[in-house]
Symmetry: C2
Subunit: 184 residues, 2 copies
DNA sequence: GGATTTATATGATTATCGTCATAGAAAAAG
DNA sequence: CTTTTTCTATGACGATAATCATATAAATCC
């Protein structure tokens, strides 16, 4: 053992963390294992001591991102006792501009669906968010609409070249959800 | 000339068509030029007689998809004199299950954004759809929300593994937009 | 302290990527 | 019929992909 006993678990965590960031920022297919390992000061060959394949890494990285997002959302909700602050942060310019730290739905999940590697973890994330939106808005069949609008607005705001249009998509979606939440 | 005079324009169209389908179904990065050309009975080398690079093809394929979608939407709108039928078809199981023939926003545009190759063509598609939703609903600041919800619901419905959840996302979004359109 | 265990590195394999220079072959032009 | 033009094919380029067998080196165990 060149490094101390729990060094492997630590390295494992670092790979997972960096992969989860790159998958969200650049896409899964566009992320190579070689550059990923190099970014951590490791060599590509060592990868298979940690994961049995790239697909294995992808699934675990999605779970990592899901867990971190879930923790973050819970914190936001508790801070204010409501879901309004969560919506604000989801539909913020900051979230739009830092996909690598954000929700994995508009990035990883959608690509995994395209690749025919859809994961049940995606269902879990969707259901978690639906639950949060529902709890604040118990009578509404609009939770699914709110979530769809959030994911769509964020995705589109990242795809469009006109900054004003990008802002408009976020802003109007934010405003509508607030309306809905207040009218309960 | 091994083939007749306008054969090149024809081949060009075929490449564009097949590329635009594959980019939407499998993703841009995951689509190779070699398999693409082979699927048309051509060899990979001939590609560069038609396009100056893959990026060039990507942009043109997006424009092709945009044009075809726009034509289709116009037809749907005229059929009924409204936008309701368009929403139904956008949020249908058929559209969900045949991304290669569908709207390029949830597939190509979003990946191009990820790759830092965002195109003004995306803005055009967004504005075209916003315009259509607006014309039916002139007083609403909700056009951007409707469009976001449509793109988000379709994307999520393709990513989720549970068929019931997938259907629910489409159905509830469909229902809400109908409500909004009727309440104008 | 010597033997064993194990985390990482080296380097190779095979495949596929985007790109391009060149060749061939047939239609059009003379 | 010969020349020229132009569409497509051949085959190679260097890069990079994912994967894995083997080597190295240091921490733990006896």
């Amino acid at each position: 053992m060149r490094y101390s006993k729990d060094h492997k678990a630590e390295t494992n965590q670092q790979i997972l963390q960096e992969a989860s960031r790159r998958f969200r920022r650049d896409g899964i297919t566009a992320t190579g294992l070689q550059p990923l390992m190099k970014a951590l000061g490791l060599t590509h060959g060592g990868f298979y001591a940690h994961f049995k394949s790239k697909d294995d890494l992808v699934e675990q990285a999605l779970q990592t991102a899901a867990q971190q997002s879930s923790d973050y959302w819970s914190k936001k909700q508790e801070e204010e006792g409501g879901v309004s602050k969560l919506v604000d942060s989801y539909l913020s310019a900051k979230h739009r501009d830092t996909p690598e730290k954000g929700c994995p739905l508009p990035t990883m999940s959608i690509e995994m669906g395209q690749l025919g590697k859809a994961s049940a973890t995606t269902d879990k994330i969707v259901e978690r968010l639906l639950g949060m939106l529902h709890s604040d808005h118990a009578d509404a069949p609009h939770a699914a609409v709110m979530l769809s609008a959030m994911v769509g607005a964020l995705s589109l705001s990242r795809s469009v070249t006109d900054p004003a249009l990008s802002e408009q998509l976020l802003e109007q979606t934010r405003a509508w959800i607030k309306e809905e939440l207040d009218s309960k």
